[in-house]
């Protein structure tokens, strides 16, 4: 993959300053920038080693932009009422489809979305993945190198059979998972079309994970979903809106699946607080809200730091700014991907520190 020579000195200075500011609790928007190393609840976490750990991981997550307007809106949502409403999850599922359609062909293009008639609330996309793993536990799992590390880590820990797509042909007993845009570099995986052809030929299945679709732009997602190998697709709010710990996601499938997640939905015992929160957000913000609001900042910061913008508004790519270290998992190899979210969120602080000029 092509890499630029970023302004590493500036990137490092900013990373150290934000990491320290996080410990000193003087970021513009307080919150969790420290997904890998939150430090200790009992101290301020401003010592060298605390700050250094955060420095190494501060650009590395896929987390959403902590947009102040969204945070304010979420903080004021009254969610308990949803516990008493038996239609909460159904409303959420139907609203999701409308919400997707409202912006279809603006920043993305999902063709034949109407083929997915079965909607199922998912406790984060991770619940859909877990159900996919359970259902296909006797098969061989396949992902491209650079895919979301969680899959490989779990399969390894559970001794599931899996192999990178680059390392073997697609066979009948395989099942594939692909993020679109691809998790590592924010655009369609260059072998995605080939993979669909192979899976159609062999008669195996692909789960397409659209977790980054809401933050994608320039028609980076442009897909015909009619291929029979694509039977289930997943969407989430976690990487777009600051609700990743509320686990708001959905799975769409062409045929009705028979797995634990579907059973919970059929029983109407899914998480109504999360589903209600999702509906509130969808009713008040368009799916491409972040794209519209932050696209100009992505270009500005990429220019300042000499990074290459991607088609996902909070990502850029460029040579890594620190020693390679795979946070959380040996499979988390995302060194060339920069999450720019904390730069957007801390414009005032970064201006005061001299890193940003309006």
């Amino acid at each position: 993959m092509e890499t630029l020579k970023p302004n590493l000195k500036k990137i490092k200075s900013i990373a150290w300053a934000l990491s320290l500011a996080s410990g000193k609790q003087c970021l513009d928007i307080p919150g969790e920038y420290t997904w890998a190393y939150p430090g200790s609840i009992n101290k301020k976490n401003i010592e060298f080693n605390d700050v250094r750990q955060r420095f190494k991981s501060i650009f590395s997550s896929g987390n959403s932009i902590k947009d102040p307007e969204l945070i304010d809106f979420i903080q004021n949502c009254q969610l308990n009422k949803f516990l008493l409403d038996p239609w909460t999850v159904k409303t959420f599922e139907e609203r999701w489809i409308e919400w997707l359609k409202e912006s279809n062909k603006q920043t993305y293009n999902l063709k034949n979305l109407e083929l997915f008639k079965n909607l199922c609330y998912s406790q984060g996309t991770q619940e859909s993945f877990l159900n996919f793993y359970i259902t296909n536990r006797h098969k061989r799992f396949r992902v491209f190198k650079g895919e979301y590390w969680w899959h490989m880590d779990i399969w390894s820990k559970l001794n599931y059979n899996w192999k990178f797509i680059e390392e073997d042909d697609i066979k009948e007993n395989d099942v594939c998972i692909v993020s679109y845009p691809f998790a590592l570099y924010g655009k369609k995986h260059e072998q995605f079309g080939w993979l669909v052809e192979q899976c159609e030929k062999v008669g195996t299945e692909i789960l397409v994970d659209f977790i980054y679709l809401p933050n994608s732009m320039n028609m980076a997602v442009d897909i015909d979903l009619s291929a029979s190998c694509i039977n289930q697709i997943t969407f989430s709010l976690s990487k777009t809106f600051p609700v990743q710990c509320a686990k708001v996601a959905i799975r769409l499938s062409k045929s009705k699946l028979r797995d634990p997640m579907q059973m919970s939905n059929d029983e109407n015992i899914s998480n109504r607080i999360s589903a209600g929160l999702g509906t509130e957000i969808m009713n008040n913000f368009p799916i491409n809200y972040m794209v519209k609001k932050y696209q100009h900042l992505q270009l500005e910061w990429c220019k300042k730091l000499n990074l290459q913008p991607t088609n996902v508004v909070h990502f850029a790519i460029g040579e890594s700014y620190c020693e390679e270290e795979n946070f959380c998992s040996p499979f988390n190899v995302q060194d060339n991907r920069y999450n720019l979210g904390m730069l957007y969120e801390n414009q005032n602080l970064l201006t005061k520190l001299g890193f940003y000029e309006k």
């Binding site: 150290w16 990491s19 320290l20 000193k24 003087c26 010592e47 060298f48 250094r52 420095f55 005061k352």
Partner: protein, 165 residues
């Protein structure tokens, strides 16, 4: 202002006599008092100009031969002694570097000894700023932190920037 914090453990009295330490840095006395589990002192006489190279000495000030009580078989049944457990300088626990020290008696120099038994003193050398010295010394010892200096510089720069606003 810089602070030195010393932690002691296993403090044993003899004939109700408590051990006393005299803590000295570069020949300037910081503490002269009974050993407690935690002793803290500012380096007040230096204001902000602490020398780069420093020698910390902890004297066992009141140990006498009569503090060691023996039975008929020459087994020690009571003794005035204690152990140094931890040194924290400017909030930084020097951790394993505490073992880069010696205990000096009239007759010998015992390397890496934190036990205050015989009359003598504990001697430990360190540089300021202490964080820089800790990172450098650890890297020299274990050869596992090649970026220590660059990261230290970025860290201090970040503090300066954030202190300005």
């Amino acid at each position: 202002m810089s602070l030195i914090e010393l932690k002691f453990k296993n403090i044993n009295l003899s004939n109700n006599k408590e051990p006393i330490v005299r803590v000295v840095i570069n020949d300037n006395e910081l503490i002269n008092e009974t050993v407690k589990p935690r002793l803290v002192t500012p380096l007040s006489f230096y204001d902000d100009k602490i020398p780069e190279h420093n020698i910390l000495k902890i004297y066992f000030a009141n140990k006498e031969n009569s503090d060691t009580v023996l039975d008929y078989n020459n087994n020690i049944i009571e003794d005035l002694n204690f152990e140094l457990e931890q040194i924290i300088i400017d909030g930084y626990d020097i951790k394993d570097l505490i073992w880069n020290s010696q205990y000096v008696t009239k007759t010998e120099k015992i390397q890496s000894c934190l036990f205050f038994g015989p009359k003598g003193y504990f001697e430990f050398k360190f540089d300021m700023p202490v964080l820089k010295w800790i990172l450098k010394t650890n890297h020299e010892k274990h050869n596992n932190d090649p970026n220590w200096e660059e990261d230290y510089n970025y860290y201090t720069e970040a503090w300066k920037l954030l202190n300005q606003i």
